[in-house]
């Protein structure tokens, strides 16, 4: 193959204060190739790409496009050199249509005419096989549609070098496959594609070459065809890691939480939960899979008593009294006292559960401030607890008096999960507990959840990485559009099977239910 260099980085460094986000990185990108940038969280992948895209300016080193040294000080400069980046968090104006977002910021001197824009957008879409309605408003779009808009936005500006920051994190397996097909078509069209990811199997199936970063440094760039997952992981982490999650067989299972016909209507009058039925058992991890925003959050909040369901029952089998209690009659405080714990890790990590400006001890106290009869709060016990959690979960912090917001994302999540586990729950609900964590921290959290399961806790785990769900969970409930589209065995289910269930429409679930109903009637 005749390779021409599209972009070159020479000895590029970027410092944030005294911390080196990137140190003397060399990188070469050819025309017509897909280069995967692989590395753990915080290893500087995104920073490096941001320097090409003009978000950051390198402190040292050179960037060459087509052999010419260039200065990229802003995204506009990047576009001038035909470089475009699709960020992980979409940079779109929700209230605008797809076409308006696509032309945003272009000042080509031509008259502003949305009709022409629509036509050109369609033309680009057809060329690479996208499906898009240029007039649709962003806030009415699904995640994958928004991503399509982002990609077309870059192509519309004539980009030849495309950078995608973790594009598959929010997609279902089917959508991922579609995206990969499109990316391959672009590569064959001569475009250079840089893709940031930490999913190894995607790297292997898509890329031509892989560049591995570790702690801000470039470790190596290898041909994808001549490498394997073990080698890549070793380069990424710097040591051999076992990527297997320990999954012991559930023991002494007992029905702990019985949810039946649960529905919930949100403030806009839309049914976000519809006839949800499932059972969570002690000593078992129940995974919940689904496209983001299918009702996972609402389901957990309803169980925790934070939302009032429109109908249905949530029965809790109390192991202490051996009686069943309806959680719907109880306040969130009473539900917590029963041992049903919600450790919710929302999108912004600190939004729910922890107060960013308070230190670890104060955050521990959020759960215990009502204890005791003294006029003043007791800080001694929360302090002990904080010390214990820091020790046991290996949280790296200067001390218990450090505000939580100063900790890194992984450590914040450990504080949150640690606090909920410390309360000796009987039901532990964790939503996206590993979101944004690197490989090592993620496995620490998985092991914590497994340890809880072995102690007889009913664990409900909402996850987004299907690879992890099928390795960690005993059973997996799939939610689509606020309905349960299936409950599968975690040991036998495949990702594809779950992916199909995730994208089912209401009508499909409906007809399937009916079919099952009639089958049962016949039997």
């Amino acid at each position: 193959m005749n390779k021409t260099v599209a972009l070159e980085m020479k000895q590029v460094s970027k410092y944030f204060g005294s911390l080196a986000a990137n140190r003397k990185v060399d990188l070469t990108v050819y025309r017509g190739e897909i280069l995967a940038i692989l590395g753990e969280n915080g290893c500087g992948k995104t920073t490096l790409m941001n320097m090409i895209a003009g978000i950051y300016f390198p402190d040292e080193g050179q960037i060459l496009v087509d052999g010419q040294e260039v200065v990229i000080r802003s995204p506009k400069d990047a576009f001038r050199h035909k470089i475009g980046m699709i960020h992980q968090h979409f940079k779109l104006v929700d209230l605008f249509s797809a076409a308006e977002n696509i032309v945003l910021g272009i000042n080509d001197g031509e008259r502003y005419n949305l009709k022409e824009v629509n036509a050109r957008v369609q033309e680009i879409a057809e060329r690479y096989g996208f499906h898009i309605d240029p007039k649709k408003k962003i806030h009415e779009m699904s995640v994958s549609e928004k991503q399509t808009v982002e990609i077309i936005k870059v192509l519309y500006r004539g980009a030849d070098i495309l950078i995608l920051d973790e594009p598959t994190a929010v997609l279902t397996p089917q959508e991922t496959e579609k995206l990969f097909a499109i990316l391959k078509r672009m590569r064959d069209d001569g475009k250079s594609i840089l893709i940031i990811t930490h999913k190894l199997h995607e790297v292997l199936s898509l890329s031509n070459r892989v560049a591995v970063l570790r702690k801000g440094e470039h470790i190596a760039t290898v041909e994808t065809a001549s490498t394997n997952p073990a080698e890549l992981t070793e380069m990424m982490v710097g040591q051999k890691v076992s990527l297997n999650i320990n999954r012991p067989e559930p023991e002494n299972t007992q029905d702990r939480l019985l949810v039946s016909d649960l529905s919930l209507v949100n403030a806009d009058g839309i049914k976000v939960l519809d006839d949800i039925c499932f059972t969570a058992r002690s000593g078992e991890i129940l995974g919940i899979a689904g496209i983001a925003g299918s009702g996972q959050r609402e389901l957990l909040e309803t169980i925790a008593g934070l939302q009032h369901p429109a109908g249905g029952r949530i029965l809790y089998h109390n192991p202490k009294t051996d009686k069943e209690e309806d959680l719907r009659d109880k306040t969130p405080m009473q539900i917590r006292e029963l041992g049903v714990r919600l450790s919710f890790v929302p999108e912004d990590r600190l939004g729910m559960g922890l107060v960013a400006n308070m230190d670890i001890v104060d955050n521990m106290m959020l759960r215990s401030y009502k204890r005791g009869h003294s006029l003043f709060v007791d800080r001694k016990k929360p302090k002990d607890l904080a010390d214990r959690i820091i020790r046991e979960l290996q949280i790296s912090t200067p001390g218990t008096a450090t505000p939580v917001r100063r900790l890194s994302g992984g450590n914040v999540q450990k504080v949150l999960v640690g606090r909920e586990i410390a309360a000796a729950p009987t039901v532990l609900m964790a939503a996206y507990p590993v979101r944004g964590l690197d490989v090592n921290s993620s496995y620490t959290i998985y092991n914590l959840l497994t340890a809880q399961k072995q102690q007889g806790v009913a664990v409900i785990f909402v996850g987004e990485d299907l690879d992890v769900l099928v390795e960690l969970c005993d059973r997996i409930m799939v939610i689509a559009n606020g309905r349960v589209s299936g409950i599968v065995d975690g040991r036998t289910a495949t990702k594809e099977e779950i992916g199909v269930l995730m994208t089912q429409t209401r009508a499909e679930i409906e007809s399937q239910k009916e079919k099952e109903g009639s089958d049962r009637a016949e039997a």
Binding site: S74, P75, H87, V93, L95, L104
Partner: protein
Amino acid sequence: MNGWINYLFNAIALGMTFLYGSVGEILTEKAGHLNLGIPGIMCMGGAGGCIALQLMYRSGIPPMLIVIISILAAFLSGVLMGAIYSFLTVTLHANQNVTGLAMTTFGVGMMKFIISKIRPLQYMYALDYFRFPFSDRTDSLKYWGVMVYLAVVVAIVASLVLSRTRVGLHLRAVGENPATADAVGINVTAYKYGATCIGSGIAALGGLFYIMDYSGSPEAYLNIEPFGWLAIALVIFALWRPYLSFFGSMIFGALFVAGSFIPGLLGLTLPMSATPLLEMLPYVVTILVLIITSIRKKRENQPPASLGQSYFREER
């Protein structure tokens, strides 16, 4: 029937005070900045215009030029206030509410000081000039001077710019999601400064209009501040759309002067103490509109998403 026509003309004329203020505020808010300094800015507009008039007193400059120069002076006073506000909130990231309130306190006080130092005759002489092209008429048409028409033109232009041009698209993007606008290469700071300064300039015209065109009384300047607050309320009433604010301003005008016209027109006698109650009507209507739009919760009718928030580039 003449009474009703008078009422209508008066309502529309007063409404233009609000229209200047609210169109100015809409432009500012579209850039994501809540400028509570509008009352002060309108006051300063009045003061700036009056200073210009005093300087041109008995100078022999043609009346039309006097009007244009004083309008420009009012506009520039507003731009100056807007520039101070922008520097504090955009560049220094100061809290927008506090800065705005400070601008109002400053503007109101400064204007009272300035105008009380000018002898009324030295600016009131131009009252008739502002009535062109109808300076010679004696009928209802004389209610409206050139600034009424200017207000309508400004509102229409603002509306077109926001909805039909690239500049408008970029400005709306800055107010909705500055990080996105920044990422596609729009100069967020320039748009914020531009929209705030031009918006303040437009709002400032409202003050001059009220003193020289609508009221024509030497005490008029004492009344500008409450109209500034009404203009801000009108922005919500108009759902951040200049053309709706055009109709809204007329409704507000009609409601505001209802107390002095309606009882007479209907042959009612109301006690004097009822007038302030009637003057509350625009605020009551604003609250009703707020309730209705909150219930309907349509995305298009909400304030710009980044309104009131400072934009830091490095924060992602």
